[in-house]
């Protein structure tokens, strides 16, 4: 039963906002379940992809949209695109997952189980922001500081260095001030607002 309490997170149903932003219409999904059957991560997810679709389809129940936003699923999606390839309605589920991740970030509703995944993404982008290219060594150190997994893969680094795969200094792009501006106008601007 729908309660009369005011909806806190947004006035517009999430399904509509996603449609506006990405052109992906969840209403077209008829719950055949092919996306969930083919998803390599479905076994790890709290809601398989078809259930995420269903949560959004029930657009009069904001609490279900909330469950989708706070799900572990949206962060486990690897964008392997198999669901989109097999969907009989050709619904771009990976694009929808991207939009849900952006929404979860903006509303500060990231599932706590996804903190390592998010730490890795942030460490990756930090490296790109400062040097213009991914500096693998810097990213791993950044990730360890963010995730506190200090001991993970400790023996991997000497081996990588030994075979010449690990550089101790980053490659710097000349246009990195422009890249800094690009980050300031996109990711950083949104983080400030939220």
């Amino acid at each position: 039963m729908r309660s009369d309490k005011p909806v806190q997170h947004a006035s517009q149903p999430l399904a509509d906002r996603v449609l506006e932003k990405t052109g992906v219409d969840v209403a077209r999904c008829y719950q055949c379940g092919k996306c969930s059957a083919g998803c390599p991560l479905a076994a790890e997810m709290d809601f398989p992809p078809s259930q995420i679709m269903h949560l959004l389809q029930l657009r009069d129940f904001p609490e279900f949209a909330e469950m989708a936003l706070r799900s572990h699923t949206i962060w486990l999606c690897l964008t392997c695109e198999i669901c989109y390839a097999r969907c009989p309605m050709e619904i771009d589920i990976p694009k929808l997952m991207d939009a849900l991740r952006h929404e979860a970030l903006a509303q500060d509703k990231v599932n706590p189980k996804a903190k390592d995944i998010l730490a890795f993404h942030r460490a990756f982008l930090d490296s790109v922001r400062y040097t213009g290219r991914l500096f693998e060594m810097g990213q791993i150190v950044d990730y360890k500081l963010r995730s506190r997994h200090f001991l993970q893969d400790l023996l991997q680094a000497p081996w990588m260095f030994f075979v010449g795969k690990l550089h101790l200094l980053p490659e710097r792009v000349r246009g990195r001030r422009l890249l800094g501006r690009i980050f300031a106008r996109t990711l950083k601007a949104k983080e400030k607002r939220s």
């Binding site: 390599p40 991560l41 076994a43 790890e44 962060w75 486990l76 690897l78 964008t79 392997c80 695109e81 198999i82 989109y84 390839a85 050709e90 771009d92 990976p94 991207d98 939009a99 991740r101 952006h102 970030l105 390592d116 995944i117 730490a119 890795f120 993404h121 942030r122 990756f124 982008l125 790109v128 213009g132 290219r133 991914l134 693998e136 791993i140 990730y143 995730s147 993970q152 893969d153 991997q156 081996w159 990588m160 075979v163 010449g164 795969k165 690990l166 550089h167 490659e171 792009v173 246009g175 990195r176 422009l178 890249l179 501006r181 690009i182 980050f183 106008r185 996109t186 990711l187 949104k190």
Partner: protein, 322 residues
């Protein structure tokens, strides 16, 4: 026709043998591959996970730089970069307002004139390849395409999204026997190599298992992430599955380089975790308790498992262990 080269970050670091072997091959085939000047990272998974505009702006800056330098096409050997650059070009050509917005962000006018090429397209278009072969690559191989080389098919417009054939046909041209197998485009776990190693160990293990059980001597890849997960993560895979896999994982360009008679060291074959020796995957006795392909989730795996060295036997599917 000027073809530019976008190496991407991995090929300068953890996948440097991919770059080394590509440049050795291009030299042997007399093809010039000038790098796009001052290229930046494409943003990979992290950018599109966190911000849509950023995920478009980073590749747009790369492509705009290629255009500015008169490049008609750009070779992007990393499958992940190839996907990001292709998707960006597609989205910006479809939506004029978005193209203008992103052009503003990167402070350059991106027009979308430069085509994006993957490694298979580039190699397959070299007609004199066969005539340069010195030592046919006569091995049974499992061509592993991964996800991003073929999907989303509507945007890439390259090969079938499942059971693609282009790499198989290319490998045939250099003397190899590509096998029919079920995990050609199944995900290896991609960017979770560090943040969710358990997932990578599970997914990559299934890929190796199918390749080995069908008698492959090597897995051939065209993506630094796939290589990292199947090769460098081998100890994690073996710990998770409780089995040993000797099968080497090589880049497509390394296989072509070997067929062209190029030096192993020049092709970076010594930079792998799993020693590149062919036939290792077959040397194991059948008692090595390989999970039959039928125990795996893909139904198509059943058909050819009968003649595999594993045979039918234990059905110890390791599903619950994470």
């Amino acid at each position: 026709m000027k073809t530019g080269f976008y190496p991407g970050c991995s090929m300068k670091g953890s996948a440097r043998e991919y770059s080394e072997s590509l440049l050795a091959v291009s030299q042997a085939l007399g093809r010039e591959l000038p790098e796009i000047p001052d290229w930046n990272c494409c943003g990979a998974t992290a950018a599109h996970n966190l911000d849509h505009d950023l995920a478009l702006a980073l590749p747009a800056r790369i492509l705009a730089a290629a255009e500015k330098n008169g490049m008609d096409e750009v070779l992007v050997p990393c499958a992940a970069c190839y996907s990001r650059l292709s998707v960006t070009r597609h989205e910006l050509l479809e939506d004029e307002a978005l193209r203008k917005k992103i052009s503003g962000l990167i402070e350059a006018d991106y027009r979308g004139s430069a085509r994006v090429l993957n490694i298979i397209e580039w190699l397959a278009a070299i007609p004199e390849l066969e005539s340069k072969i010195r030592a046919p690559f006569a091995h049974r191989v499992a061509c592993y395409y991964g996800c991003l080389l073929v999907r989303p098919a509507g945007i890439l417009n390259f090969d079938r999204p499942e059971d693609p054939q282009s790499m198989d046909l290319l490998l045939k041209r250099i003397g190899a026997t590509p096998l029919d197998w079920a995990f050609k485009t199944e995900c290896c776990g991609a960017g979770f190599s560090v943040s969710r190693t358990d997932v990578v160990a599970k997914l990559s293990g299934l890929i190796l298992e199918d390749a080995v059980s069908r008698g492959a001597e090597a897995v051939v890849v065209a993506c630094p992430m796939c290589h990292l997960n199947l090769d460098m993560r081998r100890p994690n895979i073996e710990k998770y599955s409780g089995k040993k896999y000797g099968i080497p994982v090589i880049y497509l360009t390394q296989a072509v380089g070997l067929a062209l008679g190029l030096d192993e060291k020049k092709l970076g074959l010594r930079r792998h975790k799993v020693k590149v020796k062919f036939g290792e995957g077959l040397a194991k006795p059948p008692s090595a308790s390989i999970t039959p392909a039928s125990a795996m989730p893909t139904a198509g795996a059943k058909s050819a498992s009968g003649d595999s060295p594993a045979g039918a036997g234990s059905t110890a599917a390791k599903s619950g262990e994470v």
